[in-house]
Amino acid sequence: MITSTPEPIALTAPAESSTSDSAAPEVVPELRNAERRRSLRVTVLFAFLGCCLLVLALASAGIGQMNLGASEVLASVLHKIGIPWGTLPEHPHAESALWAIRFPRVVMAIVIGAALASAGVLMQGVFGNPLAEPGIVGVSSGAAALACVVIVFGLDFLGSWTLAVAAFVGGLAATALVYVTARQGGRTEVVTLVLTGVAVNAVGGAIIALMTFMGDSSSREEIIFWQLGSLNGTRWEYVLFAGPTALLGIGLAMFLTRKLDLLALGERPARHLGVDVERLRRQVIVLVAILTAAAVAFAGIIGFVGLVVPHILRMAVGPGHRVLLPASAMGGAVLLLAADTAARTIVPHADLPIGMLTALVGGPFFFWLIRRTRRGAGGWS
């Protein structure tokens, strides 16, 4: 006898399941209320993040050597899409400055922030550890190392895609390496994870150093840009590549959210609940590499976004990935846009490396997080 479609043996008496909701056990309204509270919270959070993003984008596009009001920026955008509303900026070069320099940079910050935070969520989910992050475990430096090789040797076998593909391959290799070496029984101890990160970062750093040594002065400058991370000089062509790539990565990741939740139980229990763990793991690793590469290929190494954002949002909306992933994507966008605006405006006439800024904030946060999780309050082991 082969049962191809297994049937459940109902836990509840059949009479209960056939009648209306009112006859269900008494706990149900309670659960339903908790569910309603949670979904209200989620709605509020998304609305809040959306507003933040919009306001910040308008403000960021207006701030700079040439200061424009948010209403002027909005008017410019609306005119472009055919809505003649508001007054356009008066300055003769305002339009070109907005559309050629500031808007691509604003959009890029949003794209990269979203990509990095999503990559963080995915890594933490698959490693079962809230400290996993592309920058910390060395995925970013893996991606950067291979990108540096491409720069120094002037490789262009795939045309303008060469750099991005190299970053992707480097990121993929580093993710796979960390995954294979750092896990034990479906989980990763903090110490193992961080030490593996140290090792991978060392190798990545060594390759970058070697390339810096071998390269001529122009490629050296380029390499330094990679190591520090910056959105300076972003052009629409870059956005047109990174944007869809990141969107694709996040979109595909949305299909994996329920399985990632189950993976929190550990590998075997997840398998008992019908998750093909091997497949899930491969999918997540490829997605992390895609998302990280999309970010690293155009902005260099920007650390800690994938660490800070998911952690804060997990405290706000809980660890369920179906909400956490899109919320983190938006949160990452907000954070990186704010950081980039700060990077180019804090010091007049200077463009600070954004990777330095995020590390300045993220480093102490990481330290605090280690202390906190070690005390066991984070509840991850």
């Binding site: 049962t3 479609t5 399941s17 008992h272 019908g274």
Partner: protein, 272 residues
């Protein structure tokens, strides 16, 4: 219990590092019965369970579930057929107890049975007396509470086969009895339940059949009365035991014979 077995395993052998963990084990599990796997430490109880649920590959032998070889099962269909509660329940992030129980419904997502999710979750919480901790974060629960929530998750999966690896290890008396009473109730509803237990008196009280393992092979199979005999237990556990009838409720109780107490019971003056 006259139906065909849900699990039909023959000639299971497994060696790890030159040590025989399972030696020629045959086992059948039928719908409607509770089977207890008992035996001393290292006898292969957990390994046998792990092999039967598909976690551990055996070196030789065959395992069929509902007539189909275990290896041929798709992971999703298998999840709708058997649920497993493992020894240590850990959750990586701060999911609530309800979230964890809801995970037990994942195999039914997209089927008609999904509509009953909330009712089943509520029922599972109720049956395991975990409704009061429904909103609490799983990692902050005590060991016994975690085990009960995990048991609730296994119940919510509503499978024909339920496999429990020492579900009562971290529990006090009340919840040991609660979990096994509920396991028995599931069996009466047609489920096949297999439970790894250390407490032989618990096994005696709730199992329809007991499988006694010793050094990787089956030493005895049968009803509690057939298996829990002092001579067999003394040989397997290498410790003298007494098997007595429970004075209040009936049923067998297995007690170690404690030599130091025996000597203390005799008044000193009589020894002189």
């Amino acid at each position: 219990m006259s139906d065909s077995p849900i699990v039909h395993a023959r000639g299971l052998n497994l060696s790890l590092g030159g040590r025989k963990i399972l030696a020629n084990v045959d086992i059948d599990l039928f719908p409607g019965e509770v089977v207890a796997l008992v035996g001393p430490n290292g006898a292969g109880k957990s390994t046998l369970l792990s092999a039967l649920c598909g976690d551990t590959d055996v070196d030789s032998g065959s395992i069929q579930i509902n007539g189909l070889d275990l290896k041929q099962w798709k992971v999703g269909a298998l999840a709708r057929t058997r649920s497993v509660q493992m020894q240590d329940a850990r959750v990586s992030f701060a999911f609530t107890a309800t979230d964890v129980v809801r995970m037990g419904r994942a195999p039914w997502a997209g089927s008609v049975h999904e509509d009953r999710d909330e009712t089943v979750i509520a029922e599972a919480l109720e049956l395991t007396e975990t409704a009061t901790m429904a909103g609490r974060s799983f990692p902050t629960l005590s060991g016994g509470e975690k085990a009960r929530v995990s048991f609730a998750r296994a119940l919510a999966q509503e499978t024909q086969l339920i496999m429990l690896d020492e579900p009562t290890a971290a529990m006090d008396i009340r919840y040991q009895e609660l979990v096994l009473t509920e396991t028995m109730a599931r069996a009466r509803a047609g489920v096949s339940a297999v439970v790894v237990l250390h407490d032989l008196s618990l096994a005696a009280a709730y199992a329809d059949r007991i499988v006694l393992l010793s050094a990787g092979s089956i030493r005895a199979v049968g009803t509690p009365v057939e298996v829990l005999r002092p001579d067999i237990l003394e040989e397997v556990y290498r410790y003298p035991v007494a098997v007595i009838e429970h004075p209040e409720s009936g049923g067998l109780a297995v007690m170690p014979i404690r030599q130091h107490l025996r000597s203390r019971n005799i008044p000193q003056e009589e020894l002189v």
